[in-house]
Symmetry: C2
Subunit: 196 residues, 2 copies
């Protein structure tokens, strides 16, 4: 049986995921976002692209069956199971600037961006190269008429999960998100599991 | 009086825009998209970011008064006039892969991505570093319930325009878009003007 790993609240990790392996991201308590990045292990200049992925999917809310593409239009991951059905792929990981610009009453935090930059640095990924993440469980309803949106608490309940199959050898960055609005105002852990 | 420059159908250019200068992008015939990229001249690793911009604007349809942010959360451009009010900031520039995956009945074309990569290469910008562009006049209505979207003809009429003020010294990439659906099925030029 595969091991379940815990990401502590407001932190992030990076790890390898081989082509064919499956990654399950679990929200153990409910209402917690996990930002996910994927970078090609054979060339770190190839990385997950929201713009390519949304263009090919023709929708902004992705779920089971949708493929996550790289900036070179190769499939990096496919969503193979999803008990929630609402994730975000529009917004960048929260950062020190997010806190400065959007949460000026909150103590500043390096956010998911800082956590991902720290975790990915040993793999040679630079801070400036962190793109829009696939934000598991993040709930950003968009008003199709005005284009306005708001960041709402996740729809995920305790034990909900999303599972991805890797289509190439990857470096994965994954967080337990640090932004108040994204997580219903409280910061909880994220679990993940890798299976062959 | 400032000079009006023409970008030929299905091509692209790159040029410098100084802090304080204004760039007007004009659709001279109507129904034509122009993909716009902005890169900091002092450090090309700083570039326009859809994810930062949308996050701070809290809407997907940007217009007069909205600011376009970099990946470092600095303001690069502000939209100071807009006679259309509908542009896209979700999708990457069309590319050879776009034609392969989305237009398999069309002759392949290097698309805006290829045109931008060619135009920006002399400035040291690599193909892999081309992010989601601000797609002037591109009309991508999103269904807020399902998240589905479609690429519709632009709402711009002949002579419509959008004007930006530079907030830092920039390298600008700009195209007359090459994708059939984005431009109502025909390929037209784009005009632009720079004013101090």
């Amino acid at each position: 049986m595969s091991q379940t790993h815990e990401i502590s609240p407001r932190s992030g990790v990076a790890f390898l995921l081989d082509a064919g392996q499956e990654l399950t991201v679990i929200d153990p308590r409910g209402g917690q976002v996990a930002d996910l990045l994927a970078i090609s292990r054979s060339d770190i200049r190839e990385k997950i692209s929201s713009g390519r992925t949304l263009d090919y999917a023709e929708k902004i809310y992705l779920t089971t069956g949708n493929k996550l593409y790289s900036n070179r239009s190769n499939v990096m991951l496919e969503i193979v199971a999803d008990t929630v059905g609402r994730h975000d792929f529009l917004l960048t990981p929260c950062s020190e600037a997010t806190f400065r610009l959007c949460y000026d009453n909150e103590p500043p935090h390096q956010g998911c961006h800082g956590n991902l930059a720290y975790a990915l640095a040993p793999f040679g990924v630079a801070d400036d190269d962190i793109p829009v993440a696939f934000n598991c469980f993040m709930n950003v309803p968009v008003d199709g008429v005005t284009g306005g949106f708001s960041v709402q608490p996740p729809l995920s309940k305790a034990g909900d999960s999303i599972r991805f199959r890797a289509e190439m050898d990857l470096i994965i960055g994954l967080t337990a998100c640090s932004a108040p609005a994204s997580n219903g105002g409280s910061f909880k852990p994220i679990h993940y599991r890798i299976e062959n």
